[in-house]
C-alpha cells in the first residue's frame, strides 16, 4: 500500500481538477472564517443583556406636599435632586456628565468629588471637565396626585412642572 505522493500533491491533476481543488480550498477557507466570525458575533449577542435589573427609569417620588417651596432635596438611590421654587417643581440628574460619579449639592450648585466638575443651580457647567450640563428629567403629576419622574425623557433645562 504505497502512498501515491503525486496524487496527494495534485501534481498530475488536469487543469479542471486543479481548478476544482482550488475552489474547494477557497470555499473551505471562507466557510471556516465565516463560521468563526458568526460565532464570535453570536457570543457578543449572547452577552448583551436584553433585560437589565437595575433601578427603574420611571418612578414616583411622593406627593407635592413632601417637597415644600424652597426645597432642594437629593434622592441618592434615584440619582436626582428635586427642586421646588414656589409652585414650580423640577428634577435634575445628579449623575456627573463627565464620568458618572454622583455630584454633591453646595451653595453655588453642584460639585463632583471625582475630577472636580462644578455646576450652577440649574446644572450648567461652571468648571471642570464635564462636557455637558446636568440633564433635567420629565416630571408629571399622576391621577392620584403623585409626582412621577421619567429618567428616559430629558427635557429643556428650565422647564418646570407647575403645581
Amino acid at each position: 500500500m504505497a502512498v501515491n505522493l503525486k496524487r496527494i500533491s495534485g501534481g498530475n491533476l488536469s487543469e479542471n481538477g486543479r481548478y476544482r481543488r482550488r475552489m474547494l480550498g477557497w470555499l473551505t477557507g471562507v466557510g471556516l472564517v465565516g463560521s468563526g466570525v458568526l460565532s464570535a458575533i453570536s457570543n457578543f449577542v449572547f452577552i448583551k443583556p436584553r433585560t437589565t435589573y437595575g433601578q427603574p427609569q420611571r418612578f414616583s417620588i411622593g406627593k407635592p406636599e413632601d417637597f415644600p417651596p424652597g426645597t432642594r432635596m437629593a434622592l441618592g438611590a434615584q440619582r436626582i435632586v428635586v427642586i421646588r421654587e414656589g409652585n414650580r417643581l423640577a428634577a435634575i440628574s445628579t449623575t456627573c456628565t463627565h464620568l458618572g460619579c454622583i455630584v454633591g449639592l453646595d451653595e453655588t450648585g453642584f460639585a463632583c468629588p471625582c475630577h472636580g466638575s462644578r455646576f450652577d443651580q440649574d446644572g450648567n457647567v461652571t468648571g471642570g471637565p464635564a462636557p455637558k450640563p446636568l440633564p433635567w428629567y420629565k416630571v408629571s403629576l399622576t391621577p392620584n396626585g403623585e409626582i412621577e419622574v421619567d429618567k428616559d425623557t430629558v427635557i429643556q433645562p428650565g422647564s418646570y412642572l407647575s403645581l
Binding site: K48, P49, C101, P113, P129
Partner: protein, 425 residues
C-alpha cells in the same frame, strides 16, 4: 507467543525494584554528570523543555535583563495560585462580596495573608511588567527579529492592566465601586463602539450585580486564560527569535569587553534540534562557542529569581495589609474618589478631558508602542543599555516614562477633595 525468558522478571523482583522503576519512569535522566546528560535534562523534562539546552553567556548577565520578565512571570504564577485559593471563599454577589472580604480578614485561616499576597503581587506585576518593557526598550531588544515579540509584550501589558482593573471591583467596597463607575464611563467615550462596550462591561446601565458577575468571570476565567496563552506565545517567540538579544560583539572572539567569549572553536549545531537557536547557519564550520549549558547555569539563576520574588511577596504580605474601604454606598462617592495608583495618571488626565485623557492620548500611546519596532528599525546599539547610537529613541521613550510617572505622582499626592490641587506637606 514466543517464549522469551529474559523479558519477564519475577513478581518479587518487580516489587523490589518498584520505587526505582517508578522514579526512573518519571525522571528519565539521572542528575546530570556530563554534557550529554545536561542537554538531555533540558529536553526530556516537561517543565524544563521550554528552555534551550544551552544559553548564551550574555543572556545570563543579571544586569542585562534584571530578571524583570521572569519576575513578571513568577508574580503571575503567585497570582494564579493565591487567586484560586481566594475563589474557595469569594462570592460575586453585591450582598455577599464585602462580607466575604471581612470573613477572609477575620475568620478564614490565612485568609488575610492570602489576600495580601494576591493584592501585592497584583500591584507588583503592573510595576514589574512596566519596568520589563522599559528594559526591553532601553536595550533596543525590540529590533529585528524581535518586533513581533514586542507587540505580544504590549498585549501582555494591556492584559495585565485589564486584569487588575477587573479585580478591583471584586471586594465591592467604596473604592471598587467608584473606580469602576469611572472606568467604565471612560470606555463609554470611545468613538462608535464606546457605549456598547460600556453596556457590555456593566451588563446594564449602572454598576451593580450584573457588572460584578461580569468582572468576576473576566477576572478569574477569561483574562487569565488569555494571559496564559500570550505568555506561552511570548516565551516560544523568545526561543524562535534566537534567545535574548545581545550585542554583535558577544558572538565574536574575546575582547576586553567580553573576556568570557570563548576561543574554543566548536562546530555549530552540536546539540540537535532542541538546542538549536536561530543563527547564521550558513557560517558552517567552526565558530566561537559562547554558550553554557542551561543545566545548571540558567536553572540556578531562575530558581534564585523565583525565591527572591516569592520571599519579597511573603514579606510584604506579612508587613502590610491589603486595604478595604467602607462597603459600597451608591449614593456617596468618597471624596476624593481615587483609582489605584497605576490608574491615577489616567485619572489625572481625564480630569482635563474625558475623551482626550481617557481615550485619545492613551490610545495614541498604545498605538505608538505597537508600531515602535516597525518605525525604529536601525540595527545599531542592540543589546546594550542606553546605547549612544540610540540616544534619540531612548530620550523619547524616557520622556514618555517620566511624563507617565509625573502624572501618577500628581494624581496620587497632589489631588484632594473635589480633585482640587493640594500640597501633600
Amino acid at each position: 507467543m514466543s517464549p522469551n525468558k529474559t523479558s519477564q522478571p519475577s513478581l518479587w523482583k518487580s516489587l523490589v525494584e518498584l520505587p526505582r522503576n517508578v522514579w526512573g519512569s518519571i525522571f528519565r535522566n539521572p542528575l546530570p554528570s556530563n554534557d550529554l546528560e545536561r542537554s538531555a535534562t533540558s529536553f526530556t523534562n516537561f517543565f524544563l523543555h521550554i528552555h534551550p539546552v544551552k544559553v548564551h553567556k550574555h543572556s545570563l548577565r543579571p544586569w542585562y535583563t534584571l530578571g524583570l520578565g521572569l519576575i513578571s512571570f513568577f508574580l503571575f504564577v503567585i497570582l494564579v495560585v493565591t487567586g484560586i485559593l481566594l475563589m474557595f471563599y469569594y462570592v460575586p454577589s453585591t450582598t455577599q462580596a464585602y462580607d466575604r472580604m471581612l470573613d477572609l480578614r477575620g475568620t478564614v485561616a490565612f485568609g488575610m495573608f492570602l489576600r495580601n499576597m494576591h493584592r501585592w503581587s497584583a500591584h507588583g506585576m503592573v510595576a514589574v511588567v512596566f519596568m520589563h518593557m522599559c528594559r526591553v526598550f532601553f536595550t533596543g531588544s525590540y529590533k529585528k527579529p524581535r518586533e513581533f515579540n514586542w507587540v505580544l509584550g504590549v498585549i501582555l501589558f494591556l492584559l495585565t492592566l485589564f486584569m487588575s482593573f477587573t479585580g478591583y471591583l471584586l471586594p465591592w467596597d467604596q473604592l471598587a465601586f467608584w473606580a469602576i463607575t469611572v472606568g467604565t464611563a471612560i470606555a463609554g467615550y470611545a468613538p462608535v463602539i464606546g457605549k456598547d462596550i460600556q453596556f457590555l462591561l456593566m451588563g446594564g446601565t449602572s454598576v451593580g450585580q450584573e457588572a460584578l458577575l461580569r468582572f468576576y468571570v473576566l477576572h478569574v476565567a477569561v483574562l487569565p486564560a488569555i494571559l496564559t496563552l500570550f505568555i506561552a506565545f511570548h516565551f516560544w517567540r523568545i526561543r524562535k527569535d534566537g534567545g535574548l538579544s545581545r550585542p554583535a560583539e558577544a558572538d565574536a572572539i574575546p575582547t576586553l569587553e567580553f573576556p568570557e567569549a570563548s576561543t574554543n572553536l566548536e562546530p555549530r549545531r552540536t546539540y540537535g534540534v532542541q538546542g538549536l537557536v536561530r543563527g547564521p547557519l550558513h557560517a558552517a564550520g567552526k565558530v566561537p562557542d559562547n554558550t553554557v549549558f542551561s543545566w545548571p547555569n540558567l536553572f540556578r539563576a531562575e530558581l534564585f529569581v523565583f525565591v527572591v520574588t516569592v520571599s519579597a511577596i511573603l514579606i510584604l504580605a506579612l508587613l502590610f495589609n491589603a486595604p478595604l474601604e467602607e462597603p459600597v454606598n451608591v449614593m456617596h462617592p468618597p471624596n476624593p474618589a481615587k483609582a489605584p495608583w497605576y490608574f491615577l495618571g489616567l485619572q489625572e488626565m481625564v480630569s482635563y478631558s474625558a475623551f482626550w485623557g481617557g481615550i485619545g492620548v492613551p490610545g495614541l500611546f498604545v498605538f505608538l508602542l505597537f508600531i515602535t519596532p516597525y518605525i525604529d528599525r536601525g540595527t545599531e546599539g542592540v543589546g546594550r543599555w542606553f546605547a549612544r547610537e540610540r540616544l534619540l529613541a531612548n530620550t523619547i521613550f524616557l520622556t514618555f516614562v517620566i511624563v507617565n510617572i509625573v502624572f501618577v505622582i500628581i494624581g496620587t499626592f497632589f489631588r484632594g477633595p473635589n480633585w482640587t490641587f493640594v500640597t501633600p506637606w
